[in-house]
Symmetry: C2
Subunit: 301 residues, 2 copies
């Protein structure tokens, strides 16, 4: 029996603009998806969703992983049990984490010999096959952990801060939001292109602030980034409510993480202010998760 885990991620800076080649900074967080794997007579996948065999509807990512890994080393039967801290469909990279942790577990159990780099690449291919399109960011960050610049993939460290995530509970479609931003950009290229560049500039400045461990300034730039996301039309009142509550409770900064239009916001806090920021977000109607950055990507537990 082997057990692997892989983390979710938040965006400190740069979502949406990264679609147009601008720099973003993602940060792996200590919310993990664990996959326990053991040889079995048949394929069994057990998760919160239920117990299935190969099932591309109920367990699309894991089913794809079993199929792809079976091409490297034949898999007659395997029992996979999934357990996750990461809210599904909230832009925190839950699908990447389950994909990477599953690849990691099967890689170990069947001795496939994939390197981390190969695991990240296969994970990205699987996300594309399931979703139709996918950024390599989620699978990369889930594999390697840490604070990572995209697309350059410089790995930074961020040792000492709290991260509080607030989920609005409002469903949003990343695909639709990305399409709406594209339409806005096509309507007013002379306006929206410089805004995308401004978001990229925030990430560039942010990188040196992360290196310097200057959390108050990182937070201040997260707030500026949030305004630009609002300008792109991906904010909603429910997100604003959680974001302003977090700032009001003493967070260094707070913004949407991911595509927006619903989903989650993220607040950066001093370690000793997590609880009060979490309480404020909760008070404002958000479902709260307290976490922190992690250097640990895919792990054999």
């Amino acid at each position: 029996m082997v057990s692997c885990s892989a983390p979710g991620k938040i965006y400190l800076f740069g979502e949406h603009a990264v679609v147009y080649g601008e720099t973003a900074i993602a940060c792996a967080v200590e919310l993990r998806t664990r996959v326990r794997a053991e040889i079995s007579d048949s394929v069994i996948v057990k998760s919160q969703i239920g117990r299935t065999g190969i099932d591309f509807e109920k367990h699309p990512y894991i089913s794809s992983v079993i199929e792809k890994m079976g091409e490297i080393s034949p898999i007659k039967g395997v029992f996979l049990e999934i357990d996750s801290d990461i809210p599904v469909g909230s832009g925190l990279g839950s699908s990447a984490a389950v994909t990477i942790a599953s690849i990691g577990a099967l890689n170990e159990l069947f001795g496939c010999g994939l390197s981390l780099k190969e695991i990240a690449k296969l994970g990205h291919q699987i996300e594309i096959s399931v979703q139709g399109a996918a950024s390599p960011t989620d699978t990369y960050v889930s594999t390697f952990g840490g604070v990572v610049t995209i697309p350059e993939r410089r790995k930074l460290s961020m040792p000492d801060c709290g991260i509080v995530i607030g989920d609005t509970g409002v469903f949003s479609s990343t695909k639709e939001l990305v399409a709406n931003v594209r339409k806005l950009r096509e309507s007013y290229p002379e306006l929206i292109e410089p805004l995308m560049a401004s978001i990229g500039r925030i990430s560039k400045i942010g990188e040196s602030l992360v290196l310097a461990g200057d959390y108050p300034s990182i937070g201040r730039l997260m707030n500026v980034n949030q305004g630009l996301l609002d300008a792109l039309g991906v904010n909603i009142l429910e997100l604003s409510r959680l974001i302003y509550s977090a700032r009001g409770a003493g967070a260094f900064g707070a913004k949407i993480t991911g595509a927006g239009g619903g989903g989650c916001m993220v607040a950066l806090t001093a370690p000793d202010k997590c609880m009060q920021v979490a309480a404020a977000i909760s008070e404002a109607g958000g479902k709260v998760t307290i976490t922190k950055p992690t250097q640990q990507g895919l792990l054999l537990d």
Copy 2:
């Protein structure tokens, strides 16, 4: 006895950026301050604040107007009665309107012969003398009415739309907000200067949209402008709440008007949607004023 009135204004685009020389677009609205003036034995000023003589604390603008106009034509005694639709201290140009309407009334009553241009200029000087600093926008727009580009002062027209103003009731200091934006700009000039330029670009695009009467697009750009104001740090949750409520109720667009940090937001609507947008803003906790653009600046009633 003479009676003059002058309008307040909202910003369609460009507040804050206009401080750094970028184009803004202000719009006179059909909220007016009326000043009735007649010869009297002594100076009496009567308003909602109370009944005073020359009183630079209670009636600073009107007292300054009487003083300055007295230099042109001696004023022994005058009775001035003020009545205003414009909420005070909410960024809608109430001080400019009372100043311009007072100058207009005394100009008429004492036959001073000032032109509109001279009235606007004197009004600006009086705002500077009272406030220490003042943009010429409010007094200019109050004198001439219409939709006006700043600093170019091209007068546009905007015949057929509703304007709904929501007041958060939260006090804010324009001086402090302008200073905060300046600090942010000094901390990150390479980031904030392009954002100011982006706001200027919105006004430039907005000008042609006003000329074309394309209200949906004007609204869309107001929303982008709002995000940039949020990025500059002058938004608050109470404003967001009113802004998103107005958009949700079918406004073309909605944003802060004026310095932000409290004060008012403005929504642009189709004439037949004013009531539902107003209801939504009110529901969200705002004090609502329904109005419309006006071509009429200073008027002899």
